[in-house]
Amino acid sequence: MLNCKETAHAVSTEDVVPVGWRQRLAVRLHLMMCRHCRRYAQQMQAMGNAARDVFQHPPEDPSSPESPENLAKLQSDILDRLMQPPKHPDSDN
């Protein structure tokens, strides 16, 4: 039987630290019974969703290199530089 601390720890790392089926089952069982841990797990999930949402859209800042115009310009600048013959790296800017 896992306690809340162990469950919270498992929930926040389970997508990258491989665990056996017994552990996975123990986590699921605890979540079924414990609303605090369920809430914690939902918040972890919400954090991932928010990050995807925020980072997959360019920020509204007009100076952001991720805005479509800046991105196109940066891309062509980078390509221009790469196609020049090698010289002192990082010295021209």
């Binding site: 926040s12 491989p18 914690y40 790296p89």
Partner: protein, 195 residues
Amino acid sequence: MSDPSILDRPDLAERIRARDPEALQVVVETYLTQILRAARGAGLKPQEAEDVAQNTFTTFVESAERFEGRSHVRTWVFGILYRKISETRRKLGKDRQIDDIDEVFESRFDENGGWSQPPRAADVELEAKQTREEISDCLEAAPSKQRMAFVLREVEGLSSDEICKILEVSSTNLGVMLFRLRNRVRECLEARWAA
């Protein structure tokens, strides 16, 4: 958009070394957006992110002789990116050395491992909206390596194995990093939900 299958061909390294325009274009088109996202995730300002992206591709081309196609191009590009971001953050003195989140996490539980301060319940929809608004600010407090691990995992959806190669850490280490980052961000968000 040029033909992205160039990335999977055995002559990729050779073409990069020769500065073949088509191969360079595919590499830049494929990875620039992801690089800029990761740089933003790691807390770089727009100008810093541009410089880091520029330098990442320069190093990528210069190190092409060492690339034999054994690792996927993406792992290689992100590995370079990670090192550039660390250099930049170090130069700017942005990374805090003290990580107290383990104690903060411990303090939420009693001696039996039950919650002594359970996660706050709030309006779920309001909370989701605030999470989107505040997550960038809340990420700001975490070290760049943890932030990059988080973005590669949550936003780019890379596997644990690939992230370990990029950041040169063990999977146990990656688990610790994500544990700390997620709990730090959760604590920060919770403080703001309550406000």
